[in-house]
């Protein structure tokens, strides 16, 4: 497997030397002094791994053996016929072990943790996918594992909590702030500033202080590398457009990196429009009218949903994995440069797209991923049948049955839950 498209700050500066970890005006490492040595160590190990071709091969082999890579690129024949426009291809990250693209980053960082000789990993999680993936990696590598998860997310993702605990992780509900992803991230940082000697913080997305955006993007670039080869082989030419949902941005950057050097391929990031951008109950940072502004939080400079004085706002999305105040500094820069176009999908549109995809193709996207489907479905009909598009299906939805059944407001499911509950007493 080649490494040519792996991301680096140089990629975005057209050869102009820039401060390490900056992408245009975004990025950096705004970390408390107590973590300086930890980051220096992480940077050293990461750079070393990055410069060894054998490390990337070790990673690819691990993912092939443990996580069903390469994941297929499925031609969605029925959806293509349904819309009568562009040929629709779906990159199947849902078929990764643990059911989402999160496994790519986590297993890669696991290899680095082993190199650093650390014995414990911690992670934040929103929907639970990253927590699940980290708990799985920890079990596989033999690390102790603590997962920080907002109390609200613990409540809405109980099945994932159940599995994390069964995999041997300790799940700590975070009761501060909005009790969601950003608060879980803050709490993981608080753990790390005391535990960094034997602990690595496995950040789950392309955010946070340098080198995390670059490093996580590097591991996720495997998606785009595969997708580019696959579309050339299966379709014979490059796609016109590539769609991906954007929370922190890791699945999007993962697939986009395969096509960054192909100017004819338009890259579209789809954010959480929640109840509609105009209502203010959303989690869009880059899409038009989002109201986000430049800021520095959680160790990096990017676009954040915040008050004029810089206090972070509560965000809303039907998909916990997109319910986040900030966005990758790398994506903020690609947005500035016009390389990535941003759109948003509302909760209601997401349910419709999910429904259609299930009935038409027998494929169940995660609600996060369904955001990308919404925008692709809006645009595909107006495109010609000799154009292809790829939708990155970042994860699968069937394991989120409680959340999706709730979103569908399914009466028979509710009756089932009520009935099952009768069989349990607490205590």
């Amino acid at each position: 497997m080649f490494q040519r498209k792996a991301i680096s700050p140089d990629h975005f500066t057209n050869g102009i030397a820039m401060k390490k970890g900056y992408y245009g005006q975004w990025g950096g490492a705004f970390i408390p002094e107590v973590l300086h040595a930890t980051f220096a160590d992480l940077n050293r190990v990461y750079e070393q791994a990055r410069n060894e071709a054998s490390f990337w091969q070790e990673y690819v082999d691990l993912m092939g053996n443990y996580s069903c890579r390469p994941t297929p690129l499925t031609f969605a024949e029925n959806l293509t016929r349904h819309f009568g426009g562009a040929r629709i291809f779906i990159k199947r990250e849902d078929l990764n072990h643990t059911g989402a693209h999160k496994a790519n980053n986590v297993m890669g960082q696991g290899l680095l943790v082993r190199r650093m000789g650390k014995r414990r990993v911690i992670a934040e999680t929103g929907a639970g996918q990253h927590g699940m993936a980290t708990a799985t990696m920890a079990a596989r590598f033999g690390f102790a594992c603590t997962i920080y998860m907002g109390e609200e997310d613990v409540a809405r993702q109980r099945p994932n909590v159940f599995w994390m605990e069964k995999l041997g992780a300790t799940v700590v509900p975070v009761t501060d702030g909005s009790r969601t992803l950003k608060d879980a991230m803050n709490e993981a940082f608080r753990d790390w500033v005391a535990s960094m000697d034997d602990t690595h913080y496995v950040i789950g997305t392309v955010c946070g202080p340098h080198p995390f955006p670059e490093m996580v993007a590097w591991f996720q670039s495997i998606i785009g590398q595969e997708a580019r080869q696959q579309i050339l082989k299966q379709y014979g030419s490059l796609p016109a457009r590539v769609y991906a949902c954007v929370g922190g941005g890791s699945n999007a950057l993962g697939i986009f990196q395969g096509f960054l050097d192909d100017p004819g391929v338009e890259l579209i990031g789809v954010e959480a429009g929640g109840q509609g951008i105009a209502t203010g109950r959303h989690a869009a940072r880059m899409a038009d009218g989002s109201g986000a502004s430049p800021g520095v939080a959680q160790g990096y400079k990017s676009m954040f949903l915040q008050s004029p004085e810089g206090q972070m706002l509560d965000t809303h999305s039907i998909a916990a994995g997109l319910d986040y105040v900030g966005v990758s500094p790398i994506l903020a820069d690609l947005g500035d440069k016009g390389r990535v176009r941003f759109a948003s999908a509302t909760d209601r549109e997401v349910i419709e797209a999910l429904s259609l995809t299930m009935r038409t193709e027998g494929i169940i996207p995660a609600m996060e991923s369904a955001h990308a489907f919404v925008q692709a479905f809006k645009e595909a009909p107006a495109m010609s049948s000799d154009q292809a598009i790829i939708i990155n299906m970042s994860g699968r939805g069937d394991k989120d049955i409680f959340t999706i059944a709730h979103a569908f407001d399914d009466p028979s499911w509710k009756a089932f839950i009520v009935d099952r509950a009768k069989g349990y007493t607490i205590g």
Partner: protein, 258 residues
């Protein structure tokens, strides 16, 4: 009215064995209680006061200060109100050196230059911004120097000797020596490792050394005298005000120095 904080602290050290810096979160539990707490601190002989401007994501703070930040924000504290409180307190207690403590986003959104100018104009002496390491804060450090404000830097037990020298060279006023790993408010055990750490800090800089994180008793302060120049009392006074009200602060501070 810019002052040289380093020189002033060194002058005070000719009269006192150890100086005291206390901390409070603006707007928690209320601005009215803040005023009373500061009066108690000032009258008990505190040298410096760290006035924290709340931020929604205080990653270097533990549960007590985190909760104080959140509650203050929930009650509608603004950066403007913090500036007004700082101005009023600096004028009312000229013997105390006041510093703002906050996170970088608050400064960034206000505008670095505007924030620093306003801080100087209202009579404060410096700032402590834990998520702005010198590597990211070059313009902030330059602006602070130009205005005569102390941009306080941090030493930690994980800092190498070389890093300590680099960081100290960028800072002013004093160096905030974190006595242990972790966030604010956890217990520090004072042992031989601390002696060695403080000796290492002393070799790295001629700036006064403030030691913080987890100090809360007379024994702690007495132990530091001779090794450090200023003891930092953070979480302890917040807990005290929560439990016993602002009137308990004066006797508590006086007791630390007895």
């Amino acid at each position: 009215m810019s002052r040289n904080l380093e020189r002033e602290l060194k002058q005070r050290l000719q009269q006192k064995k150890i100086l005291l810096m206390t901390h409070l979160v603006a707007g928690y539990p209320s601005l009215a209680v803040n005023r009373e707490v500061i009066r108690q601190m000032a009258e008990a002989g505190v040298d410096c006061i760290e006035l924290q401007i709340p931020f929604s994501e205080p990653i270097a703070d533990g549960p007590v200060i985190l909760k104080a930040n959140q509650q203050s924000l929930d009650q509608g504290i603004t950066v403007e109100a913090c500036f007004r409180l700082g101005q009023e307190m600096a004028a009312a207690f000229p013997q105390v050196r006041f510093l703002f403590m906050t996170y970088y986003n608050v400064v960034f959104k206000y505008g670095e230059d505007a924030f620093l100018r306003r801080t100087r104009d209202i009579g404060l002496n410096g700032t402590i911004v834990p998520d702005l390491p010198p590597d990211e804060g070059q313009s902030y450090l330059a602006g602070s120097r130009e205005l005569g404000l102390a941009a306080v830097q941090f030493f930690t037990p994980t800092s190498s000797d070389e890093r300590m020298r680099q960081v100290a060279a960028q800072g002013a006023g004093f160096v905030y020596c974190v006595a242990r790993r972790g966030v604010t408010g956890r217990q520090t055990t004072f042992d031989h490792a601390l002696d060695q750490y403080l000796a290492r800090c002393r070799r790295a800089t001629t700036l006064p050394l403030a030691v913080g994180f987890g100090i809360g008793s007379r024994g702690d302060v007495a132990m530091l005298a001779g090794q450090a120049d200023m003891a930092v009392i953070g979480t302890a006074t917040i807990k005290l005000v929560d439990a016993q009200g602002p009137a308990a602060v004066g006797p508590f501070i006086a007791g630390l120095l007895a």
